[in-house]
């Protein structure tokens, strides 16, 4: 990991360091467009073929029902069941605070305005992982969907080599009371939920992370159909802001936890202490030796870096420019910085709050904006599964109060029928 000294960096260098690669490869686009076309034209037939081609599984069915799910869930050991349940409860508890009524107000006498929350009817959750299994992703999407009250929750996940789903996913489906799952992965799963096939219903909004093909499919769907997506997704990233009293072993572990995600992950350390930076580098080498996914982590560390700063204030300035998906503040002074954090997805405060706590069980969501999207996007929450409808009601008094204002504004904009619609009501008072 290369170390930069913040005060020596030019504006251009900072801009280049905070830039993530959002290039879309043309070959990925072309291949994905082909998959979308296949699924939109040939539905289930295409899905069976693509499973055979990409997942190397010959499926008998694309859909597992309640019995299949319960059968699969059966083999989860008790201790692991318990861990999944605790995660479920904590995520449920935190997300339950997010769905709140708003009050009705009278903007002027006789004009009542308010918003009401409605669940998005049909949502599609994509849970990646053929060989790797990601029950936590299903928890992070399924819990807010349930709290929001979505009527139909469609889940797609690539089949295991055995043509079924992982017991852990099955167990979480049971916790979420979802009685069906579709064995489809990759871009074809996104296509199926966007267009609908015989086996898989069309949805209104698609959620979930995935590889470059999945991300490209979501982008293409968003710009060519009326199906919404949760957010654009890039490689995962962490920025750790640390002062001298932080522990090198914790920092190294947190950087490696991010790096082991994939070769394109980015782990960034922003630190006030030269001595600590050296210790962290040594700790990384030490911990790498015991890490099963060391090869992946090493690739990720190649395009990761360290920024040496004079103060935590300076470090936070850099962090706000970078807008990290995950921000960890390992400093005794973390309280002072909360209000100054402008751009970040999820923030982990103090020495005892590793990112993995939020990845799994603190209760916060781990589906977060990457690639500097934290400047404008929030992570997934109950908000992502609802929409808010505005309502207004005018009585006679209300028409008297705002009638002429509406008439004049319609006049200014040259929209006579807009004016007339109000004038007719005013005349009848």
């Amino acid at each position: 990991m290369k170390t930069y000294i913040y005060k020596n960096l030019s504006e251009e260098e900072i801009s280049s360091l905070t830039q993530r690669n959002i290039d879309q490869k043309q070959e990925i686009r072309t291949a994905t467009e082909e998959i979308l076309k296949e699924v939109s034209l040939r539905g289930d037939e295409a899905l069976y073929e693509l499973s055979s081609r990409f997942d190397r599984v010959e499926l008998d069915t694309l859909t597992l029902d309640q019995d299949d799910i319960e059968g699969a869930a059966y083999s989860v050991p008790r201790e692991r069941q318990r861990a999944l349940e605790i995660a479920f409860q904590n995520i449920h508890r935190f997300h339950s605070t997010q769905n709140r009524r708003e009050r009705k107000i009278e903007t002027v006498p006789g004009v009542e305005c308010w918003r009401e929350i409605r669940p998005i009817d049909k949502v599609g959750l994509y849970v990646p992982g053929g060989s790797a299994v990601l029950p936590s992703t299903l928890l992070m999407l399924g819990v807010p969907a349930r709290i929001a009250g979505c009527k139909e929750i469609v889940v797609c996940s690539p089949p295991q080599p055995t043509g079924t789903i992982s017991p852990y996913l099955a167990y979480v489906l049971n916790l979420l009371k979802i009685d069906k799952v579709h064995l489809v992965g990759g871009a074809q799963a996104i296509a199926a939920m966007a267009y609908g096939t015989k086996s898989i219903p069309k949805v209104d909004k698609i959620f979930g992370p995935g590889n470059q093909y999945v991300t490209m499919a979501k982008t293409l769907i968003q710009s060519s159909t009326n199906v919404a997506i949760d957010m654009p997704a890039g490689p995962s990233e962490v920025l750790i802001l640390a002062s001298e009293e932080a522990k090198a072993s914790y920092i190294a572990a947190d950087l490696l936890a991010q790096a082991e995600h994939g070769p394109d992950s980015q782990s960034i350390l922003v630190c006030t202490s030269v001595a600590l930076i050296e210790k962290v580098k040594q700790e990384i080498q030490k911990q790498l030796q015991e890490l099963p996914r060391a090869a992946i982590a090493e690739q990720a560390l190649e395009h990761s870096y360290i920024v040496q700063v004079d103060s935590l204030e300076e470090g936070l300035e850099f962090s706000n420019l970078y807008a990290p998906e995950h921000l960890i503040i390992q400093s005794d002074r973390w309280r002072e910085f909360v209000s100054r954090i402008q751009n970040a997805g999820s923030v982990f405060l103090g020495h005892l709050s590793p990112e993995s706590a939020g990845d799994y069980a603190s209760g916060t969501n781990h589906t977060l904006p990457t690639s500097s999207y934290a400047k404008s996007y929030s992570g997934v929450s109950v908000d992502s599964f609802v929409k808010k409808i505005t309502f207004q009601h005018l009585n006679e008094e209300g028409v008297k109060h705002i009638g002429s204002t509406v008439e004049i504004l319609a006049e200014i904009e040259g929209l006579d029928a807009h004016k007339k619609a109000m004038t007719l009501r005013m005349e009848d008072l």
Copy 2:
């Protein structure tokens, strides 16, 4: 306007009636891509050229400052100033209820989680209209941006033939305390705010309606840069749900108010009474005769239609499938239906609440999801100008409570460094 009888419609016919054209014309895409490329490569130079080509104005400057704005605002007559101020106040009053703190919770003892709201730093507002002037659009975007606390509010609007801006826009800029405006319209305005030029700053999120080129530019920007957009926008639409006691003249005026927007607008009447349907048709013909924009409205009415239903319940069923941008319920029984409205952008309740009230001055926002996007999107609000960051803090007790759950889930997912990050903390307790 053709009349359909709901109970005689097949599922396919309903699906086709509720379908809006979201085809993107290849020629518009190609032309827009060309504009984006020009602006990204040549910045201001391209903007001057495009203004000359499309707006037929030779500009000396792309930016008007405080003095220019005050100069332009000066000519607004007092009565119209007052109307703009009342609209501003009502919109401000309603949107002020939307930005609320959330409470901190302990998901388990020692694990605190919460969300905090942060404004999006830099937002770009596009206000369309070269010949037509739309101060209401600037109000609808500027007020929530101000309430959210956005640091930099960039406004682009095409130049008037005189090379300046309309006095009405200038007056609203003053109300909003925005001291700069850029004379750029169309796809080039979107490009300028997405890439940044010498005169126009790059923003994090772009808002505002526009023609097909503007919409295409927003779509392309969203899928190729890290700049977000408010929502995809299609032609405007209204669905009026009316029972026999409704007034034909009000219904006709509301249908025409929508139809005068543009030839691609859609006005739909869903009505329980055959007699009322006939009266509305006659009223439309009568009101059309006095309407300056009759030619536009007539084109829009050609692809508008009427659905005759047996009950308001049936009508609401159709409305929820259509998911209208604007829904007007002209019935004495409107109260019964509020909770059953699932999909709509903004709803106008009762006989005295025309859409034009919400377009201008009731206080609600008029930037709303069209083309059935109301199934998954909300209209613009303060929410659109902020993001929510999640925070978590674990103390020793918190680590004791969820530590082993995190370890087990990391094990299930095969992410050893994730586990290690927690194990190291647990060992030190």
